[in-house]
């Protein structure tokens, strides 16, 4: 295992500074406006900031640990996300084996393939082989009721929770000339820009949000929040050009693209939650909800980020 690149420490100090400022702002708001904790928005913001500390420490440790840390962290995230997603689907008893296989075989195998940088197989293993084989197991067990619904729900769960999430550690496999040994920073960049976009969409939405983008899907997504959040996070991505192989302008454009993809992820997963009649995917992260509530935007942004790098920067 190689030592983490020196830029990683600078990056983590910058993120820590942002969190310190956010914590001071959150506590000041409470002290100023509702010291008796009676304002639910302020309490939610402070709960979210507290959870961010825990998430940043965890992700920071995984980044410092390098390849093994990031692969294990995202395998665990995949497991948690798959669990949350499948808990809300309507599978039948006949799907028991195929679901067991998803958790205990497909998930570890996908991460093993990513670990060994077998791009030709990990990029098609789930969308070709898992998608074809799992319905076979369900069919062998009988029970044709709502068969297409059941396999479609299961496939979408595996696609998002395992396949898309595994593209984050897959960034470590890229070979960008002049950027050797620094791929861990691509993971840091992706997670930071996309999550910062979510946070800033929340902040801008709360401050000036008026016009809802899709009121029937998500009452909290507004055009003002979307534009302000994506613009803020794209600028932040530009300021982070020094941890990437990009120039500042290219970094701005790449950030813009992954913020847009991240927004799409949040929107689609909100629609699924709305369809299932839940507000959050789980209860694990105070103020945020479940793992998928935080991962949704990363799931959509990761494959796009990897493919841009792979086709325009990486030597294959």
């Amino acid at each position: 295992m190689s030592a983490p690149p020196s830029e990683l420490l600078g990056f983590l100090v910058a993120v820590g500074t942002i969190l310190v400022l956010a914590t001071i702002a959150g506590q000041t708001m409470r002290w100023w406006l509702a010291p008796d904790r009676s304002n639910p928005i302020i309490e939610e913001i402070n709960a979210r900031i507290a959870s961010w500390w825990a998430m940043v420490v965890l992700i920071g440790l995984a980044l410092l640990a390098g390849r093994a840390g990031v692969v294990v962290l995202f395998a665990v995230c995949s497991f948690a996300a798959l669990r949350e997603f499948l808990s809300l689907t309507r599978t039948a008893r006949a799907d028991h084996w195929s679901l067991l296989l998803a958790f205990y075989a497909i998930l570890p195998l996908q991460y093993l393939l990513v670990w060994h940088d077998w791009y030709g197989l990990y990029s098609i293993f789930i969308p070709v082989y898992a998608f074809l084989m799992l319905p076979v197991l369900s069919a062998l067990r009988g029970g044709p009721e709502r068969f297409l619904d059941r396999i479609a729900e299961t496939q979408w769960a595996i696609m998002l929770a395992i396949y898309c999430a595994s593209y984050v550690p897959a960034l470590l496999n890229l070979h960008v000339p002049g950027y050797e040994g620094q791929n861990i920073l691509l993971v840091a960049y992706l997670i930071f820009v996309v999550q910062f976009s979510d946070v800033m969409q929340f902040v801008w939405g709360k401050l000036v949000g008026r016009h809802r983008i899709a009121a029937s899907i998500s009452p909290s997504k507004t055009w003002e929040g979307f534009v302000g959040g994506v613009a803020s996070a794209s600028l932040a991505g530009m300021l982070l050009w020094w941890i990437t192989p990009f120039t500042p302008i290219v970094s701005l454009l790449v950030s813009l693209l992954i913020c847009l993809a991240g927004f799409a992820g949040g929107l689609v997963l909100s629609a699924i939650k709305r369809d299932r009649g839940v507000k959050d995917w789980g209860y694990v992260i105070p103020g945020h909800g479940g793992f998928i509530d935080r991962l949704d935007s990363v799931l959509f942004a990761a494959p796009i980020f990897l493919h841009i790098l792979r086709y325009y920067w990486s030597v294959k």
Binding site: F79, R83, E84, L86, S87, L88, R90, T91, R93, H96, L99, L100, F103, Y104, R276, G277, G282
Partner: protein, 113 residues
């Protein structure tokens, strides 16, 4: 053949201060219905010890996590919802009590997805 009445055994355990977990449907529910008709043991226990609190508990997703006859559980999320304690009303008929208990339990089920 039974050598000892199971209700007597349950009453004895309650008298010793134990709490009991009863599955009043008597078997795993593999039907489309939310709750199977309750067996009569719950009524006999409630009439033997009317002061005991009967707390309905809904365990969501259990039949998907471990369907009847399967060996390996799925790691899905499971929620447990507790309702208000019930008691046998004075003069309440057996069938009425069992129906009421079952409907109290059904009322704890999360809205169908």
């Amino acid at each position: 053949m039974r050598t000892e009445d199971p209700v007597d055994q349950m009453v004895a355990a309650l008298d010793e201060g134990y709490s009991l977990i009863l599955f009043p449907e008597g078997k795993r529910n593999t039907t489309e219905d939310a709750v199977l008709p309750f067996k009569t043991g719950l009524y006999h226990l409630a009439s033997a010890r009317p002061d005991i609190d009967l707390v309905p508990v809904w365990i969501a997703n259990l039949s998907r996590i471990m369907p009847k006859g399967e060996l390996i559980p799925l790691p899905l999320l499971c929620t447990v919802t507790f309702g208000a304690a019930l008691h046998l009303n004075e003069g309440e008929a057996k069938a009425d009590f069992l129906l009421r208990a079952a409907s109290e339990l059904r009322a704890l089920a999360p809205a169908p997805a």
